[in-house]
Amino acid sequence: MPGRAARLLLGTLFVLFLLFLYGPTLTITILSFQGPDGGLTFPMNGVSLHWFGRLFQTQAVGDLGASMTRTLLLAAMVTASTVVISLAAGMAFRRRFPGSGALFYLTLASLIVPSILVSLGVGLLFNRMEWEPAWYSSAFGAQLTWTLPFGLLIMFAVFNRFDRAWEEAARDMGATPWQSFWHVVLPIIAPSVVGIALFGFTLSFDEFARTLLTAGSGNTLPLEILGMTTTVTTPVLYALGTVSTALSFLVIGGAILGMRLLRRRRGV
């Protein structure tokens, strides 16, 4: 137990950290409730939902509805692919296969390579091949280079602690390898699989650098927001920030709630 002074210092540091973490989000949230005549900065000129209403009308610049739809669809695709591929790869890596070491380091390398270079590379490749870059092809691939290594690392951690005796017991009782996966392995690691899905979704939802040069003509939401920061001068931008932050919290909260319910059903 640290002393009084140390606790005070650590406490202050922690509060500062929280302020640093949530201050900007909070500021934007507050400003998004700016009155109809309010501007981009404090002071608040009244309180209203005006800018949220404006969000869903046609914009002079930017198409929020379409970019939001694209982003959500892309995030769903990335999430599903990340879960399926990480799970399969995690199972494969449990036993050494020829080239498994090299494959592992190659996978990790894409975490280290600067995102913007990955984006540039994928963009250039599509250009050379004379393929049309689009959010559902080139951007999808570029985002997977980011989410897959994370998913795989989580699976490694999961299977490191996974007791092989469970599978042996299933085999002992006559389960086929597929039955053992479906009835034993998958239910036991389900919480981690949900975690990977959440990870994939949030990484994709706000991914910027890897999408920048690969999204083609249809912008994703983060790209659209960047475009708007330079052109839009109304708090509608803040309203957008508030809505997308709320959406993120909703997804995470929903996942946590789902896991709680699942656990309660199991009675843990």
Partner: protein, 329 residues
């Protein structure tokens, strides 16, 4: 009687190192309780896992009821295994865990749950059907694991250190229960343990293993009274292994006395330790040549003529109690 389980020259090698199990041959009579006993790394668990089919056999054959099962998968052998960690599925209730084997065999839900309930009663856990493993105590988890292994009606039950995770009180209780179940079901139990007390209490046949080989396979009384080697005598405990003028001998500590009987053999030295154990007192004597031997004396006998560390003392025993050992094993 035809043996239930027969091992013929069974060898297990991991990589290029020395064999973990080195050409062992063993016949276990049907309906008997057999303990594989030995220090860690002696190959007892590998042997069990090869019988179960969870480890491939490098050389040799395994026969169950006269059928060669060396290459068969675990579920096709007629064995069932109870794992050291129990390996209960954490997401299934006690009842569902027990029903798992039937579920994999495609038995309908109502029937398999009814049969699982029957086995849950067999291990006296009828009220715990809906509990998850995490909500059960260690002893209860073990009973569930036992019921789960028995529901497929195996001819041979394989138990990997089943009592090691339990506290001493529970261990004795479960020991009795395992023996009772084995008697009632009349099937063969093969039980891996490193505790000689456990093996003595349970087994009809104890197999002492050392460095991948069988050091001695016999009823426990025979092992205790006529250990085949110095290793067996030391491992089984309760023996002094001594180099005497006539060769190497094993002498039971409870047959060793502080006064040499007329015509008996003896070892003179200095008392190195005196340990009070309640009903008995353990006296350790060190001879001038460095050998130590101990006597386990009934407390009455000790207190009639007590000794203290540092005093001179002579241990003695009847000549017939000195069991000769081969000098090199």
């Amino acid at each position: 009687m035809r043996p239930d389980v027969e091992l013929i020259g069974v060898t297990k090698r991991y990589g290029h190192g020395p064999a973990a199990v080195d050409g062992i041959s063993l016949a276990i009579p049907a309906g008997s309780y057999c303990c594989l006993l030995g220090p860690s790394g002696c190959g007892k668990t590998s042997t069990l896992r090869m019988i179960a089919g969870h480890e491939t056999v490098s050389e040799g054959d395994i026969l169950l009821s006269g059928r060669n099962v060396t290459l068969l998968p675990p579920a096709a052998r007629g064995t069932a295994m109870m794992f050291q960690s129990y390996a209960l599925f954490p997401h299934l209730t006690a009842l569902e865990n027990i029903a798992f084997g039937l579920r994999m065999r495609g038995v309908g839900k109502a029937e398999r749950l009814a049969r699982a309930a029957e086995f849950l009663r067999l291990v006296q856990l009828g009220a715990m059907a809906d509990r998850l493993p995490a909500q059960l105590s260690g002893g209860q988890q073990q009973r569930v694991a036992l019921a789960r292994a028995l529901i497929t009606r195996p001819k041979v039950l394989l138990l990997d250190e089943p009592l090691s995770a339990l506290d001493p009180f529970l261990r004795t209780q479960m020991r009795e229960e395992l023996k009772r179940l084995q008697r009632e079901l009349g099937i063969t139990f093969i039980h891996v343990t490193h505790g000689q007390e456990e093996a003595m209490a349970l087994s009809d046949m104890a197999v002492v293993m050392d460095q991948g080989r069988i050091a001695q396979a016999a009823p426990p009384r025979e092992i205790f009274e006529k250990p085949a080697s110095a290793f067996v005598a030391r491992f089984i405990g309760g023996h002094n292994v001594l180099e005497l003028p006539g060769g190497r001998f094993a002498v039971r500590t409870d047959r060793t006395r502080l006064a040499p009987p007329p015509g008996g053999a003896s070892l003179a030295g200095q008392v190195a330790a005196v340990e009070y154990q309640g009903a008995a007192v353990r006296v350790v004597v060190r001879a001038p040549d460095g050998q130590t031997a101990e006597a386990l004396l009934p407390d009455g006998l000790f207190h009639a003529a007590p000794v203290a560390p540092g005093e001179a003392a002579t241990l003695g025993w009847d000549a017939q109690d000195a069991h000769p050992l081969s000098p090199n094993a």
